[in-house]
């Protein structure tokens, strides 16, 4: 596609439920990043993929968060047992590789009620 696509654009879920957020990067971009942006804050790094592997997952806040990129393209961020504090905009970005600029998606706004 022409840009980074994230679905859904909005997700409302109940506390304790499981959610999946999808990111479809620019075709050919090997690097993929997930960030989380809480209200009034800048984006915070969660995880970075180079190809299919998670090269750096140091930003994941706890083991309820997990992400995959099985074929080196689309990535899914999975959150188990959601909590109200997980409410934020989840941003995905892709790039041609380390050292290249990012292209961000428009984000998924997650609201946990």
């Amino acid at each position: 596609g022409a840009g980074v696509s994230q679905t859904p654009s909005n997700k409302v879920t109940e506390k304790g439920k499981y959610v999946e957020l999808r990111c479809d990067p620019i075709s050919g971009h090997t690097a993929l990043y997930w960030y989380r942006q809480s209200l009034g804050q800048g984006p915070e790094f969660l995880i970075y993929f180079q190809g299919t592997g998670a090269a750096d997952d140091s930003g994941l806040p706890n083991d309820r968060f997990f992400a995959v990129r099985p074929e080196g393209s689309v990535s899914t961020l999975k959150i188990q047992r959601t909590e109200r504090g997980d409410s934020a905009v989840y941003l995905c970005a892709s790039s041609e590789g380390v050292g290249y600029g990012y292209t961000f998606g428009s984000g998924t706004r997650l609201t946990v009620v």
Binding site: A31, G40, Q41, F45, G101, T103, F104
Partner: protein, 109 residues
């Protein structure tokens, strides 16, 4: 530890006036600094990076290692510059960006 500080949450200037958005950083090595911008209802996008030493949309930013600053400047603000601006740092050897909390710039007609 790395830190990016944008001291102004909100900044208003009149059209045609100079604008400076402040960014200070804390990092022990040699970082790479960026400015990202988010216009209303648009996605976050790269404005400029210090290694490029370029001017984008009339904006420039110089990395001052002595003052650990990377302030964004434009001599004459335009209404279309109204947006949210984020300063970001990438550590040497790092894969990810560390963002400041952002400054919302409003250019008053």
């Amino acid at each position: 530890a790395q830190r990016v500080t944008q001291p102004e949450k909100l900044l208003s200037v009149f059209k045609g006036a100079p604008v400076e958005l402040k960014c200070n950083y804390s990092y022990s090595g040699s970082p790479e600094l960026f400015w990202y911008v988010q216009y209303s209802r648009q996605r976050l996008q790269l404005l400029l990076r210090h290694i490029s030493r370029e001017s984008i949309k009339g904006f420039t930013a110089d990395l001052n290692k002595g003052e650990t600053s990377f302030h964004l400047k434009k001599p004459f603000a335009q209404e279309e510059d109204s947006a949210m601006y984020y300063c970001a740092l990438k550590g040497s050897g790092a894969n990810n960006l560390f963002f400041g909390t952002g400054t919302r710039l409003t250019v008053i007609p």
